[in-house]
């Protein structure tokens, strides 16, 4: 058990290391470097370019720079942006905090609703509650996020004037200042997330209800709700852990569209902006952070599944 924990952490770190190598070499292989992009090429004379490279320390061999970069990254220092002045850790740090805030709020709202509705529609399969929830889920899944976001802005901030339609708070502001601006993005994200988790939980509940052990519990005389809570749900909700984990990773790195629609200063938008500015050091850092989030969240999910599923526990403790 302990061995397996160490092994998984080791493998996770190896994965992040590999990703950092790929990201770094990808950036190295691109034509030009931070200086040629920073100083518009046609105007830049050789001296300025050389001076810039000297400032940014780009003349040393790639391997040297990689070991320094990755070494510092572990300590939370990602170096400076392409302008040579701004520290990446401050820009990215603010954005990461904002993304975490958005992800956290969406999870707190979305996951309980999704699990609840998923269980309800599984238990009342093909009946009114299920038809209602499932239709809603399909709707939320098929309508693109920017459409539902725009519709919500139209209804809640333009017609009803209840909530602000876009976020005007600056990236560095403390979390509390994002309220109530953050509410609409949270609603949209929860909707999309809910739909996915609900569908998964529903089919899992249906599958478990048809299992031999649920039939056996019923024939043992276990009352219906006791059967649901003791025998069915602990098994039906196991696969939800992994789906929720993937959702967390998605919320932190993959919700650019929502961030753009609501002008939310999150990690995804910083990534897109940096790409269009060709601010490669920042892109590099964000890629590494998002990759690490994926690895950590998946590791956490696997460990949690293991705690909840005695079968997996045995398999791992034997291996």
């Amino acid at each position: 058990m302990f061995l397996m924990l160490i092994r998984r952490i080791f493998l996770g770190m190896a994965t992040i290391g590999l990703v950092s190598v790929i990201i770094f070499s990808g950036v190295e292989l691109l034509p030009g470097d931070a200086c040629t992009q920073f100083l518009a090429e046609d105007q830049a004379d050789r001296e300025m370019l050389a001076q810039c490279r000297e400032d940014l320390d780009l003349n040393r061999p790639a391997l040297d720079r990689f070991s320094e970069w990755s070494g510092n990254a572990i300590l939370g220092d990602f170096g400076v942006a392409a302008d040579g002045i701004t520290k990446i850790s401050t820009i990215v740090g603010d954005r990461l905090k904002n993304s975490l805030l958005l992800a956290f709020c969406s999870l707190v709202v979305g996951v309980p609703i999704a699990l609840f509705l998923g269980v309800i529609s599984g238990l009342w399969r093909d009946r009114l509650p299920d038809l209602f929830a499932s239709t809603l889920a399909i709707f939320a899944m098929t309508v693109p996020e920017f459409v539902s976001a725009t519709l919500l802005i139209l209804v809640f901030s333009i017609w009803l004037e209840w909530l602000p339609g876009i976020v005007l708070t600056s990236a560095g502001a403390p979390a509390s200042e994002f309220f109530p601006e953050i509410l609409l993005p949270v609603v949209v994200l929860s909707l999309v997330m809910c739909a996915h988790i609900l569908r998964m939980v529903r089919s899992s509940v249906i599958e478990v209800l048809a299992s031999d052990y649920v039939q056996m519990a019923t024939l043992k005389g276990v009352p219906y709700w006791q059967m649901v809570f003791r025998h069915a749900l602990p098994n039906a909700l196991l696969p939800a852990i992994n789906v929720v984990a993937l959702t967390i990773a998605w919320l932190l790195g993959g919700v650019v569209v929502i961030e753009v629609v609501f002008n939310y200063p999150g990690l995804g938008r910083l990534m897109i902006d940096s790409i269009s500015d060709r601010n490669l050091p920042v892109v590099q850092s964000i890629a590494l952070i998002v990759a690490s989030v994926y690895v950590c969240v998946n590791l956490a999910a696997d460990l949690l599944t293991m705690v909840a599923n005695p079968k997996l526990r045995t398999i791992y403790s034997r291996s």
Partner: protein, 669 residues
Amino acid sequence: MSETAFITIKNLSIGYNSRSGDVIPILRDVSLDIRRGESVGLVGESGSGKSTLALAGLGYFKRGLRVLDGSVHFNETDMLALGRDDLQRIRGGQIALIPQNSGQSLTPTLRVGKQLIEALRLHSDLNSKNFNSRVVELLEQVRLPDPMAMIRRYPHELSGGQQQRVAIAMALAGEPEALLLDEPTTGLDVTTQAHILELLRDLARDRNMAMLYVSHDLGAIARVCDRVVVLYAGEIVLHGSAVQVLGKPRHPYARGLLSSIPRLNQTSMPMSLDGRPPMPGETINGCAFSDRCVLSDEKCTTSSPPLLALESGEEVRCYHSNLIDRIPINSKKVASFRKSGEVQIAAGLQRLAISYSKPSFLTTLFKKSSQPPNTVDNINIDIKKGETLGLVGESGSGKSTILKAIAGLISPKAGKIILDGTIELSARVEDRDAMNLRKIQLIFQNPDDSLNPRHTVGQILAQPLRLYFGLKGNILRQRSADLLDRVRLGAHYLDRLPSQLSGGEKQRVAIARAFAADPEIVLCDEVTSALDVSVQAAVLNLLDELKTEQKTTYIFVSHDLAVVKAISDRVAVLYQGRLCEVGPVNSVYQAPFHPYTDALLGAVLEPDPYITPVLSADDIVELSPPAKGCPFQRRCPRKLGTICETETPPGRQIGLGHIINCHIPNNEL
């Protein structure tokens, strides 16, 4: 006999609505009484509605099923009229179910103890302080070792036999007056099955319980039941005492079923019962069995026979039960033994050893490597051309593993596999050339898994023909049709998909695919275990005919000793991946025995109420073979002492080609 019935099922019909809206009956007009202290066996092939009937005893119907007519009474309570609360009180309290597959019937996330306590909390008046001691008592009652440790375990941490015992303990928790058993021993090893049945017999006798025992296994029924009911196509066709039904069945179907079971004391092949039972919803003219019955005449195909009482006390649904003796019960046919002159070796296994554990890079990095004993070790057997070698043993004996190694699916850790006496086969199937691949073909246990559900029968057969012989177009189709003819299916099967075939037909297609390669050696891995007995007999007969035509060599793996006896020339008995005994079939099935062979044969249940199994060894399940000494040392009832733990037993020559690996001297075996 005068006591009133405890469970009364009267004129019960159960069915479902098909997609087109028709009502399709699964059970038709079934009536059955069970008294206290009586155990009734319910026999039928898959699809006969027997499990549906058992669950109806609890007032439970699977999704989609409903009662069309009739009633179910338990202790004078109408089970079909009860509400949810009343049903919950009776289920598990007064009537308990012991399910078919306990491994899947115990909730995987709950500890065994918790599940048992749940049953106690629901159905006993005990103070909750006494639950734990009562659980321990129950587990002791079902003879589980170390009950204190058992209650802390999760279901998947137990062996199949232990899971079944837990399920029985759970059923007993509510101190029920009636037990419904739905194939409680199917899927267990022979020794485990025999032990569980003895336990059930004792329990039923001690507690004067009524039992309804559902099974397709007439051997188990014979051991446990007083009366037997035979179901065919959802109807009762025969009902009588166990001695009557199993001794001299008065219905042609029951008689056919009985003669299709291979027996230990028979040397002939079992008789096959041709045809298949009607599917639910199929129109039946007259007697449902008429199209498979040799006694059938015009009357049988026009009017359906009523269930009539005979003078001897049985009830039988047949117009011709007085002519029943015309149906032969024993086949004269004996499995085609190879000609004794032939001594060419088809395949040789030399010191074969296989291990599943492959230490990964990381475990060797973190852990000191300690090599577990090999899964299969030191197997030396020569298989002669044209002979059938049977491999028997319980689950975990390594019999399928050896087949996989011969087929190249697992690389042996040591030893050689020699083909035709000279060619040493490469360990991995990828390294073997097409010629050698063609010579060895494998037939799997479950045709549902081994046939690609999206390929037609024609496509399935075309693959080996194209691969090994480069056939194309009309010749390919002609050859495929020939193959289907040889397995007694017609050319019209070519365009069907596996899902449109019955279990027996699918297995025939799998056999035809193996023979399409024109193989020299056919490896049969439990090929009849997933089939009904009547179909099993037909498949065994087919394999035997093909062997006569093709002079093929078979290696036949099975856990069923009677089946192996019927088809094999020579038998190898395996325990924990080590050979215990090898020899000609008649010598192995007769004394002197290896103690393990003795235990296995003693535990076999025959469809004869007068035969009592002899249980010599405990049914402990061992997870890994012992590091040294005799593989059977931990369970052997005749263990000599430390010699069995330290030294590998010598191979003693008992008779011609008959070798027993045991420390006990020849004359004492």
